[in-house]
Structure formats: structure tokens, C-alpha cells
């Protein structure tokens, strides 16, 4: 799809190229029935960024976050092509902005659009079910990973080790300590670590989760380099 994703440098979950490859046929199938009546322009995308924040760099961060939320929303709702649905939802918001709409809260508006799309997706599935006389929302079987779809765990581990080594010492020690131990020992250790760092336990948890995301991005880049 010609969507906002082309204009953005993707980050965060679901950015792995092999996932996109696996999903591509499903995505096409799912989007066929969703009306395509409008195409994204650079002006439209700029208008979205301007609505998110006057500072383009800050707006880009908000945009990435909004897109990631949408991807997760559609994924947690078991939609077949979360990334494409997310881009479509964003395109619809851009269209409204281009029509001169003024939003009090874009996040809430986007969620409304996403919910509307969920109905459209459900209707598409229902039509397919009627056409092929197969049960709606059948539980898909979990496909076995194909070797060339997902990189070898050993390749991932070796890349992650490099990424961990490249982290600043303080961050590396924090993440290693956060995840070390088991059961009650682990919980106690996390509480102690949070106390030492002067953080609430939940704040420490979010901070380590962000570090983990950075490591995942680093791992993806490392694998891409090795594959080239």
C-alpha cells in the first residue's frame, strides 16, 4: 500500500521484514474490500505531523507512537494485516485533516476510526465465509516457522550479545540485574534495584522495556548487515 509507512522510518514492534513477507498475501486479501478512494500526498502527511506537534522532530516521535499503538490494536484484535490497517487508519485521519477537520484529541479520533475499520474487516471476513462456506473467525492453525522466514535463534543471540556489549555500562548492568534471578528472588532484586536508582518499580520496568526495544532494533540491524 502507498501509505504513510513509506515516509517513516519504522521502529518498535512488528518492524521485522520477515513478518511483513509472511503477512503480505493476507494483507492484500484483507484490504481488498476496504474502500480505497484516496491516496496520501506529502502535503497531507505534513499536515498530520503539524497537527501532532509544531516541532517536526517531536511530531515524528508522536507519529511513530500512534502508528505502533494502532498496529498493536489491530494485532490484539486478531486482524490479519495490522500494519496495513494502521496505515489505512492514519490515511483516513489525514484525509479528515485535509478536509479542514480540527481535532481535540487525534489519539481518540484515530481509535474511533480503528473501531470503524474493525467492523469493516469483520464484514469482509463474513463475506468470505459466506463465499467459501467456511466458519467465521476459525482459529488459524499455528504455522511452523520456516527456516528462511525467521532468522536462526543462534544468529539472534549472537547479535543480541553484541548489542548488549555496545550498551553503556550503566544501562547494561541495569538490564542484566533487572532480569537476573528467579521467582521471589527476582522480585526482591527488582525492588532493590528500583530503590537504588530512586525510581518507582513501574518506572524501572518501563525503562528496561525501552532498553529491550532498543536492543531489538539493534539486533534487527545486525541481522540485516549480516544478510547483506
Amino acid at each position: 500500500m502507498a501509505t504513510a509507512s513509506r515516509l517513516s522510518q519504522r521502529s518498535g514492534f512488528g518492524s521485522s521484514p520477515w513478518i511483513r513477507a509472511v503477512d503480505a498475501p493476507q494483507a492484500v486479501e484483507a484490504m481488498e474490500s476496504i474502500p480505497k478512494k484516496w491516496s496520501l500526498t506529502k502535503d497531507g502527511f505534513d499536515r498530520l505531523l503539524a497537527a501532532l506537534d509544531p516541532d517536526r522532530d517531536v511530531a515524528a516521535v508522536y507519529y511513530e507512537r500512534l502508528r505502533a499503538k494502532l498496529i498493536n490494536y489491530f494485532d490484539w484484535r486478531d486482524c490479519p494485516a495490522p500494519e496495513d490497517h494502521a496505515d489505512e487508519a492514519i490515511n483516513r485521519v489525514i484525509r479528515k485533516l485535509s478536509d479542514g477537520e480540527d481535532f481535540r484529541d487525534i489519539g481518540i479520533y484515530v481509535l474511533g476510526i480503528a473501531r470503524m475499520m474493525l467492523l469493516e474487516i469483520a464484514r469482509t471476513r463474513e463475506k468470505e465465509r459466506m463465499a467459501f462456506e467456511r466458519p467465521a473467525f476459525e482459529h488459524p492453525t499455528i504455522p511452523e516457522p520456516i527456516d528462511d522466514e525467521i532468522p536462526e535463534t543462534s544468529q539472534r543471540v549472537s547479535c543480541l550479545e553484541k548489542c548488549l556489549a555496545a550498551l553503556p555500562e550503566r544501562s547494561r548492568n541495569m538490564i542484566v540485574e533487572y532480569y537476573s534471578g528467579d521467582g521471589p528472588k527476582k522480585i526482591k532484586r527488582r525492588k532493590e534495584l528500583a530503590e537504588r536508582l530512586g525510581l518507582e518499580l513501574n518506572a524501572l520496568r518501563i525503562r528496561t522495556c525501552r532498553l529491550r526495544n532498543k536492543l531489538e532494533q539493534c539486533m534487527g540491524q545486525c541481522i540485516s548487515r549480516q544478510e547483506q
Binding site: G14, D78, P82, R156, Y179, C209
Partner: protein, 324 residues
């Protein structure tokens, strides 16, 4: 009002075990509270870790495999959790080897040696250790002070930035104000003409219009618990439908503008409306639509409040028009 969700509810949300009402509640919160969204992501990572480390109860494991593993994106979370756990284990053992074993070796060599300087060496080492500990404590205290000062500075910078952003927004809004006001006046005049036309169409023989009005109440967003827009059933005799648009919260706008669009986004009807009325369920704005302009299909109603010549979107309503 913000609803509190604990980790257990988030886990049930991720496993698809929450009621639709709570599920939409979590989704609402995720789109308005970035910190909560990050918490959900952190819980998702922990859930994936627990699965990889076999820390889930048998029931949780079954639920996890049934729901969580259905999506390729979520299976990717498991693949990453597995690699991450292994990399961390290897890192931990490396740190243990580097940091602890050699130290143990040095201490052993001190005590095990027949060298005459051993006790002097122990005393020197202890003095060094005490000195190093004191320096470490001082260093940590200073580091914390610096950290606090940094965060205070960052907070001040953020406040400055937010003020600047608000000022810029106000300037841009002011410049749009006049054109919006003009646009609204034109829309109001046009809709008044349309209303007059609709009224004359609804009263061809001068009979009471009340017998041909169907009234429906719409809430903003989709109906909670079903994810289905309101179905507006239009019988053959109905000439006008009246939609009571419930306001999400009390508003003091002097007037409103309602715009009705098809699912494809085409504007089919718009109308200026008077102030909200107080009904049994709360405040609502009444919108009357001529049936002739609403063919069967899905619609979105955008409600905008008007104050001082400025329009502000305050709610979105969805309905499906069906013929009985």
C-alpha cells in the same frame, strides 16, 4: 475519569480473556495515556518471557497458546524473548566470570601464600577497600544530586517548550478563526434552506410531522460492549429521523454543527443546532435528518461545538441506516 487497570487485568487483556467492556476500556486508556501503553507493552514482554521460561501455570499456558500465539507479530515476541533470555544468560555468566572469579582468586592467593607480607597485604587491602567504599558512597551521592539537577533542568526546559508550543498553536488558531466563522455562517444559511425544504417535503398534506418521526439516541464512539454502531430502522412511513446525540460530558456551547458523512467520508448532510438539552441520561443535542437524504448504509456524525465563532470537534457518532 481514568479507570485503573492492574497487571492481572492487562495479562487477561493480552490473553483475550477480558469482557468486551473492559477490553475497550483498556484500549481507550492506551490511546490517551502513553505511560499506560508502555506498561501494557512491558507486561506483554514479561508474559512472553514467562512463556519461554516456563513460568506460566498450565491454564495460562493453554490460554497463551490458544490466543497469543495466533498472530505472527506476537509469535515474533516469543522468538525475541527466547533469544533475549539466552543472550542475557550468556552476559550474566560473562559478568560473573569477569567480576567475581578473579577477585576470589586474588583473595585466595593472599591467604594461601607463605609470603611473609601476607598480613600486611591483607591490612593494605582492607584499607583500600574501606577507602574505595567511602569514595563509592560519595560518588553515588554526587551522582544522585547531578541526576536530580538534570531532571529539574529538563522539566523546566519541557515547560518552556510546552509554553512555546501553546503560543504557536494559539496564533495559528486565531488566523483560522475568521475563515472558520465565515464558513460556518455559510453552512448555517445553507442548512436552514435545506431544513425548510425537508419540512415542506415531510408535510405534503399539512398533516402532523410528529407521526412520521423516528427518534434514536446515539452515544459517542461505538456502543460499548458490542462494537456495533446503532442500527437506525427506517420504516416506509418515516419521513424524518431524529437523532439525540448524547454528549460525552457536559458542555456549554451556545450552538453546534453536526456533519453526517458516509463510511467513505462523503458529506451528505450538515446542520447548525441549538444548545444541548438536559435529558434523563445527560445532555444531548437533537439532530433531525430527512430520510430522503439518508439511504441505507453506515454513517458517521461529527458534532462540533461553536463558541466565539470557533468550531471544535467534540464527538463522533456512528449509525447504520436500515430500511424496515
Amino acid at each position: 475519569m481514568t479507570t485503573a487497570f492492574d497487571d492481572k487485568q492487562i495479562v487477561r487483556f493480552l490473553l483475550g480473556q477480558l469482557s468486551e467492556d473492559k477490553r475497550t476500556g483498556i484500549e481507550d486508556r492506551m490511546f490517551t495515556d502513553d505511560r499506560f501503553y508502555e506498561q501494557v507493552l512491558a507486561v506483554q514482554e514479561e508474559l512472553a518471557d514467562d512463556y519461554v521460561l516456563e513460568n506460566l501455570t498450565p491454564d495460562q499456558r493453554v490460554a497463551f497458546e490458544r490466543s497469543f500465539l495466533r498472530s505472527p507479530q506476537r509469535r515474533e515476541r516469543i522468538a525475541f524473548a527466547e533469544a533475549f533470555t539466552r543472550a542475557l544468560a550468556s552476559q550474566t555468566s560473562r559478568q560473573t566470570n569477569a567480576a567475581f572469579e578473579p577477585r576470589v582468586g586474588r583473595w585466595r592467593s593472599l591467604f594461601g601464600s607463605s609470603n611473609g607480607f601476607q598480613w600486611a597485604a591483607v591490612a593494605a587491602a582492607l584499607a583500600l577497600l574501606i577507602g574505595a567504599s567511602w569514595l563509592y558512597v560519595q560518588n553515588r551521592t554526587l551522582s544522585r544530586s547531578i541526576e536530580v539537577a538534570r531532571s529539574e533542568k529538563q522539566e523546566l526546559l519541557n515547560k518552556d517548550e510546552a509554553g512555546e508550543v501553546k503560543l504557536k498553536k494559539l496564533e495559528s488558531e486565531n488566523s483560522d478563526l475568521q475563515s472558520q466563522s465565515q464558513k460556518m455562517k455559510e453552512t448555517i444559511a445553507q442548512r436552514d434552506r435545506e431544513l425548510a425544504a425537508a419540512k415542506s417535503a415531510a408535510e405534503p398534506t399539512g398533516s402532523s410531522i410528529l407521526t412520521h418521526i423516528a427518534t434514536f439516541t446515539l452515544s459517542p464512539g461505538l456502543t460499548r460492549g458490542s462494537d456495533e454502531p446503532e442500527k437506525v430502522m427506517i420504516s416506509g412511513k418515516t419521513q424524518v429521523i431524529q437523532l439525540q446525540l448524547a454528549l460525552p460530558k457536559p458542555e456549554n456551547y451556545k450552538g453546534y454543527l453536526a456533519e453526517v458523512r458516509t463510511a467513505r467520508g462523503n458529506l451528505v448532510f450538515s446542520k447548525s443546532l441549538p444548545a444541548a438539552q438536559q435529558l434523563s441520561f445527560g445532555q444531548a443535542v437533537s439532530l433531525t435528518l430527512p430520510v430522503s437524504q439518508i439511504p441505507i448504509g453506515e454513517y458517521e456524525v461529527t458534532l462540533k461545538g461553536a463558541a466565539d465563532g470557533k468550531l471544535q470537534s467534540i464527538g463522533y457518532y456512528y449509525f447504520i441506516a436500515l430500511k424496515r
